[in-house]
């Protein structure tokens, strides 16, 4: 609101600053977009500039259909996008589904060794997948989880990050409300479903964004746990393409086009959640 009443000079200045910041953020995306409109020969001849080339349609057709103009066999991008989406969704839903009740338990219930269990949950923060990758892989392999969504997601779901965020959210819910619900005869489960979850919508939306992107960006673990290219995630595909490019085959156009396509689902999630997020913010009192 205040920007409307700000003096003109300040308004202009702040818009210039915002524009600059937006430009800085958009620049890499711009480069990727431009690069995806050239072909291999252009890259070899050094003809790539700051403006679009002539082969954009070819590139996207090739990437989507899987038939490239050069010798390499392009991976199936559609399948990789689907795999990535399912993986990221499972990780997001799984983490939230586990964190909400566990945060509820450590915030609202007195049980023996509560501090200890809280610490145990806390310790998982110190053990991201990269730290425990070898034993985790062994366990996953023993359970025959290679090339499966269970194998892709389960080891990533098992961590406590979201528990802490939800605990913080729950602690910010006024105690009077908890007491009012007690007087209203709400059982703990009813209280959780009717009051806690709706009041945590904003946090859930924010976490959905964070966790979806976390899941989407996973690279090391999917690389280990999948052995067939049909199980490749989109990030693995980008990795393979850029490796090919680094080895001398100038597939930068395909790499960039794939990277851009890989942006679509996360952006969709961000936009969808942003609405919920804003609604949640305006619904809170004060």
């Amino acid at each position: 609101m205040s920007s409307f009443s700000a003096p003109p000079l300040r308004r202009v200045l702040s818009h210039v600053l915002l524009g600059l910041a937006a430009a800085v953020l958009i620049l890499p995306v711009w480069f990727a977009l431009v690069a995806s409109t050239y072909n291999g020969a252009d890259f070899l001849a050094g003809r790539v500039g700051l403006w679009f080339g002539a082969h954009g349609a070819d590139t996207y057709k090739a990437v989507i259909t899987g038939h490239g103009t050069i010798a390499m066999a392009l991976p199936n991008i559609g399948q990789a996008l689907i795999t990535s989406t399912i993986m990221a969704l499972l990780i997001t839903i799984g983490k939230i589904a586990i964190s909400l009740p566990s945060a509820f338990a450590v915030t609202y219930f007195q049980f023996p060794l509560r501090g200890f269990w809280f610490a145990v949950i806390f310790v998982t923060l110190l053990l991201p997948i990269e730290v425990r990758i070898v034993p985790t892989f062994q366990v996953a392999a023993n359970f025959h989880l290679l090339n499966s969504f269970t194998g892709l997601t389960l080891p990533l779901i098992a961590s406590a990050t979201a528990t802490f965020l939800f605990r913080q959210t729950f602690l910010s819910i006024p105690e009077e409300l908890t007491e009012a619900a007690r007087l209203d005869g709400a059982s703990p489960l009813r209280f959780f479903i009717d009051i806690i979850i709706p009041m945590s919508r904003t946090s859930i939306a924010a976490l959905t964004v964070i966790l979806f992107i976390y899941g989407w960006n996973q690279y090391l673990w999917p690389l280990l746990i999948t052995t067939k290219t049909s199980w490749s995630t989109i990030v693995m595909v980008i990795g393979r393409l850029s490796q090919t490019a680094a080895e001398g085959d100038p597939v930068w156009n395909y790499t960039m086009a794939t990277a851009l396509l890989a942006l679509v689902p996360p952006v969709f999630v961000v936009v969808a959640m942003q609405r919920l997020f804003v609604r949640g913010l305006t619904e809170m009192e004060k």
């Binding site: 006024p174 009077e176 409300l177 007491e179 009012a180 619900a181 007690r182 007087l183 209203d184 005869g185 709400a186 059982s187 009813r190 009717d194 009051i195 709706p198 009041m199 919508r201 305006t282 619904e283 809170m284 009192e285």
Partner: protein, 355 residues
Amino acid sequence: MAGIELGSVSKVYQGGVTALKPTTLTIPEGGLTVLVGPSGCGKSTLLRIIAGLEEPTSGTVTIAGRDVTQIEPADRDIAMVFQNYALYPHMSVYDNMAYGLKNRGTARSDIALRVNEAAKMLGIEALLQRKPRALSGGQRQRVAMGRAIVRRPKAFLFDEPLSNLDAKLRGEMRVEIRTLQQRLGVTSVYVTHDQLEAMTMADHLVVMRDGVIVQQGPPGHVYDEPDNVFVAGFLGAPPINLLPGTLAEDGTLHLDCGPHVTLPVHPPLQTGSKVTLGIRAEAIGIAAPAGSLTATVELIEELGPSRLLHLRFGTAKIIAMAPREPALRPGETLAIQLDTAALKLFDPETGRACR
């Protein structure tokens, strides 16, 4: 005997704070009992023990003849109105009021009936579909009361429900709560630190201090006959004038600030005892024929129908409530007279009233 009975209830919080010393209290049925006292005196603790939100360290709670000490808050048949209203922000006004009934398995049609009836009573029918954030403070207050009313409980508990409203609205809501309570005739306990609210609303006034009930009774009686200096000073605005002095041989009181005051009867005290004289502002009159006592006007506060005179009385300052006539000016010296029937004597050591 169907009100609320507290049998030597006490509360020591974790960490060792004694919020409530063993307290026995009978809250009369159907009336509005106000617990009043300075902040931190244990009023909320007492109320929350009645509600079952706090477990007493010792003692028993009986509501309408039933011992509820071990019973869950939801099953005590009480409803509570909180200081910050405690409305569920994501639910409509209707759902806020209906939630407790839903949880109890009341039939839908019955819920609608009760909610609409309560809404009509409170004049919030037009707001039923709104969310709490779209309501003013006074409207939220009404919804909070509606939520209590639909339950048709044995008792209403209020914890400083008006402290978030502005002065004008507070005055209105005070009357509204009082009217509603009288109409419904439900036993009510009302906690406040505001002595005006307490005096104006109470059928039965309970004054607390440091976890102890210091006096209780009808508000007028407690005001007129305070048992001790604390109660005398806590009730009434402007506060009672307190003047230390010594009892002389002839039965007059020699005030430390200079003047000598003639007492109507000889108090049951030895000559030479130290006492504190308490005299309320409205018991100090401007004497038409020059009396033996004089005071100098320092400041005049106009109240409209009357005015407050800040007087220098000997070396002490006192406040008198006087009619608007005659015209007075700061610096003027006038004769005053004390309403001898309204003089209170207190033991300066124990604070107890000397009767």
